[in-house]
């Protein structure tokens, strides 16, 4: 590697990392929080078989999973203004990432809820508990344990997915890499560097996920 490239990469590293920490991470955290809320609500509606709302949830999942994330971003950011709905770039990204990943996570959560045996729910009724009490004490804790790895997966995939926000003018880490590259013309070096920082973020998350899985009570083995 020549000295010029090395110097460019060294000087751009703190800059990229700065955008990563100040934009990519908050974007991910906010989007993931939104996705989690959506996922739990959508999963619970389907699990409890709430009439009417259940169809609405299936429709939402169908639309989201059947269309590309990039197209969804464009639709909301470039499309909706023509019907008078104008959102700033960052909130658009949070909304679209949240609703997008929320659909996938809803399926993970629903699967986890359904994997808690029906018999435990019946036993809960038989000791006099209400539906809400059974959900709170029995079903949700076990479902969370089961859904945890899948949710960790979604979080990791979302970190990388936020780079798409560059296409709707959000100045996040990848957009910053593009900007720097526009000046220095070192695509291979510059994009490798930004890839490395994403890898760093995801590696930390992978550790956290493994640590979390160990910490979560495994109820005396098995599962």
């Amino acid at each position: 590697m020549n000295e010029r490239l090395w110097n460019i990469l060294v000087s751009s590293f703190p800059r990229l990392l700065g955008y990563g920490v100040r934009v990519t991470i908050p974007l991910t955290v906010l989007s993931f929080a939104l996705a989690l809320v959506i996922a739990v609500i959508v999963a619970l509606i389907q699990y409890a078989d709430v009439r009417g709302l259940r169809q609405l949830c299936r429709f939402y999942i169908w639309i989201i999973r059947g269309t590309p994330l990039l197209v969804q971003l464009y639709l909301v950011f470039y499309g909706l203004p023509s019907v008078g709905i104008v959102l700033a770039a960052f909130p658009t990204a949070v909304l679209v990432f949240g609703f997008n990943e929320g659909a996938y996570m809803a399926e993970s959560v629903r699967g986890a809820l359904e994997s808690v045996s029906r018999g435990q729910v019946e036993a809960g009724y038989c000791v006099g508990m209400s539906y809400i009490q059974i959900m709170w004490h029995i079903v949700l804790p076990q479902a969370f344990r089961i859904a945890f790895p899948a949710l960790g997966n979604s979080l990791i995939s979302m970190v990388k997915g936020t780079s798409l926000a560059a296409t709707i003018t959000v100045m996040e880490m990848f957009r910053q890499a593009q900007v720097i590259n526009g000046r220095v013309y070192e695509s291979l070096g510059q994009y490798s560097e930004v890839a490395l920082i994403y890898l760093l973020f995801c590696t930390v998350l992978t550790w956290l996920q493994r640590w979390g899985e160990k910490r979560l009570n495994s109820y005396g083995g098995v599962k």
Partner: protein, 248 residues
């Protein structure tokens, strides 16, 4: 008389499983519900605790009458709190320890303090010989141990009757005895029990009454001794002979 059922009917997908069941249980009775598989025994038991909604029928419990089809949520919960249900597959709460499994009905459903519930739970666990395992999780126990914890979970709320749905059918043969002996002791202590079972020894020696079902109807009912010594109906006789022949 503490429990009476009148003309209980239940169909699944147009197939009639229970064709008008009548049943009377007195305080202290141990009623064995016998019959070939598919005769509707389990469905009968589940309807009594509203785990299945009957299509029609009346339940008289403690002198109060309830509609087995249309009873409201408050009535259902009230009845369930006076009864206990022991499942074939134990259905312990897998995320809770043995102690928590037994206390949850008291703390969550009845608002009792944790300390008091804990004391009552330990006494119930002592009755089934499981007090030494309070901190274990269900997955760390044998089937027989899990079923005994499930019985303690039922006992803890001082039920007026315990429903047992084939409590030993999922157990390895060597584990059946420990569960049956707990049930025998409860019977001797005067607990009212309604037991769907294939254990003929239990039906003959422990239960006071037998209800023999076939094809969704009660074919014969009466004191156990009489039922086994002198079955009145042809189908009862055939059933007893088949079961006893299998055992040899």
């Amino acid at each position: 008389m503490m429990l009476e059922v009148r003309s209980l009917r239940k169909s699944f997908d147009g197939h009639e499983i229970l064709k008008g069941i009548d049943l009377t249980v007195d305080k202290g009775d141990v009623v064995a519900i016998l019959g070939p598989s598919g005769s509707g025994k389990t469905t009968l038991l589940r309807c009594l605790n509203f785990l299945e909604r009957a299509d029609a029928g009346e339940l008289i419990f403690d002198g109060e009458s309830f509609d087995l089809h249309a009873a409201g949520r408050a009535d259902v919960t009230r009845i369930r709190k006076k009864t206990a249900f022991v499942f074939q597959n134990y259905n312990l709460f897998l995320n809770k320890t043995v102690l928590q499994n037994v206390t949850l009905g008291l703390t969550a459903a009845r608002g009792m303090g944790r300390a008091e519930a804990g004391e009552i739970a330990v006494r119930a666990l002592e009755r089934v010989g499981m007090a030494g395992h309070v901190d274990r999780y269900p997955n760390q126990l044998s089937g027989g141990q899990q079923q005994r914890v499930a019985i303690a979970r039922g006992l803890v709320s001082n039920p007026e009757i315990i429903y047992f749905d084939e409590p030993t059918s999922a157990l390895d043969p060597e584990l059946i005895g420990e569960v049956l002996s707990v049930m025998r002791r409860l019977a001797e202590e005067g607990m009212t029990m309604l037991v769907v079972t294939h254990e003929m020894e239990f039906a003959r020696n422990v239960s006071s009454k037998v209800l023999f079902m076939d094809g969704g109807s009660v074919i014969e009912s009466g004191p156990s001794k009489e039922f086994f010594a002198n079955p009145r109906e042809r189908r009862s006789r055939e059933f007893i002979n088949t079961i006893l022949a299998d055992r040899k």
